[in-house]
Point group: C2
Chain length 231, copies 2
């Protein structure tokens, strides 16, 4: 017998149940928060994660491209604006580049991707390909890791300021700005997924999509950790 449709609360619970797979508990993140990374490791982290940040607008545009609903497109478009900014020198990508500079990288060495670990590229590209090739609501569901990110980012700002004396509060503008953004987006995205997954098959696919995204992020930190260790 086919599994029954979950009611909205059961479905939300199934999605939220993946929190233990979120990269907050990855050993490299723990070391970041505990102040155990040296400057080289921090630079490696920032430069590799840049690639993830830089591809988010293209991932979000892929969702737009696959979505036939103008109302959803209008809602989703704001994310691209958030990361790319309305003008040059603004937006989430710019804030990440400033963090890169704060940990001692030049913009040039971030943008030319010289520090990029192959595993970083594979994980991020897999995420973009997922958004390009899967139904839009699955790709939206994959972004629900943002439900888990608010608490982690708040803690990160506190921990990084305490642990790395050369980092100033303004260097962490990516996170402080993002904390506000995800507190609203996470709920909005969750309700979008709940509304548009109307079969059990779609609900299961949404849970699988979020699981996949947890793997993408985890794998990204694996790649960073390994590459930073061997230098």
């Amino acid at each position: 017998m086919a599994a029954a449709l979950l009611d909205a609360e059961e479905f939300r619970t199934a999605l939220r149940g993946l929190e233990h797979r979120y990269w907050g508990s990855h050993p490299f993140h723990r070391r970041l928060h505990d102040g155990d990374l040296d400057e080289r490791e921090l630079r490696f982290w920032a430069a590799n994660r840049w690639y993830y940040q830089s591809m988010i607008p293209q991932k979000d545009a892929a969702i737009l491209s696959n979505c036939p609903l103008p109302g959803v497109r209008r809602q989703w478009l704001d994310r691209i604006v958030y990361h790319d900014g309305r003008t040059a020198g603004e937006g989430g990508l710019e804030r990440w580049l400033r963090l890169c500079e704060a940990v001692g990288l030049t913009r040039e060495e971030v943008l030319d991707e010289r520090h990029l670990a192959p595993g970083t590229r594979f994980a991020v590209d897999a995420y973009v390909t997922f958004a390009r090739t899967r139904p839009w609501v699955e790709a939206v569901a994959s972004g629900l890791t943002e439900m888990f990110s608010g608490h982690l980012m708040k803690q990160r700002v506190v921990d990084m300021l305490a642990a790395y004396e050369w980092i100033r509060a303004e260097d962490l503008a990516y996170f402080t700005n993002r904390i506000d953004a995800v507190s609203g987006e996470g709920q909005e995205t969750l309700e979008l997924v709940v509304e548009h997954c109307v079969t059990r098959e779609q609900q299961d696919a949404a849970v699988a999509a979020l699981s996949f995204k947890c793997d993408v992020l985890w794998s990204l930190l694996d790649a960073i950790e390994r590459a930073a260790a061997k230098q």
Copy 2:
């Protein structure tokens, strides 16, 4: 010997040289302008072209998704906003729906695509697939048909108001609004293509892309003409 890179003006001329292939000279458009379409044909035209209009934001989002340059993405994003509107009830898609109503269609019969000719769907889907699968600058070049559209739309407003007495000026807001939009966009897009096609191979691909788009539009009118004739 490989063909030499065209200088900017030669390249612009090659692109503009495709104007004779633009759908302005298609027999069905000529009949539209001459006031020779009956109400059923006008409805068929509006309902089929709706499918083209409705897919433009998804086509433009595909270009965004393939473009690694934040500056270009910021510029291109405005097109999605133009067609989808900032809020429900605004934008190019909404204006096209109002034209559909003016020629006697209900929104329901437009949105459920009951009047759609298979050839319309094939042509439009081919265009979206092109944008999803080709380099972003080629997909941008394919949109250069807008260079040819300003004059045609101005003439259309005059001709339609003269020929079809039940059509009011406000019903043609899609065109009157679009005339202003393309007068700027056409030039901007042309310069974007000129700037980012830096090899002869890319220049040739851009010309081929614009040729392809002329085929898409022409084929769309073929499909409309045939389907309208056989009923």
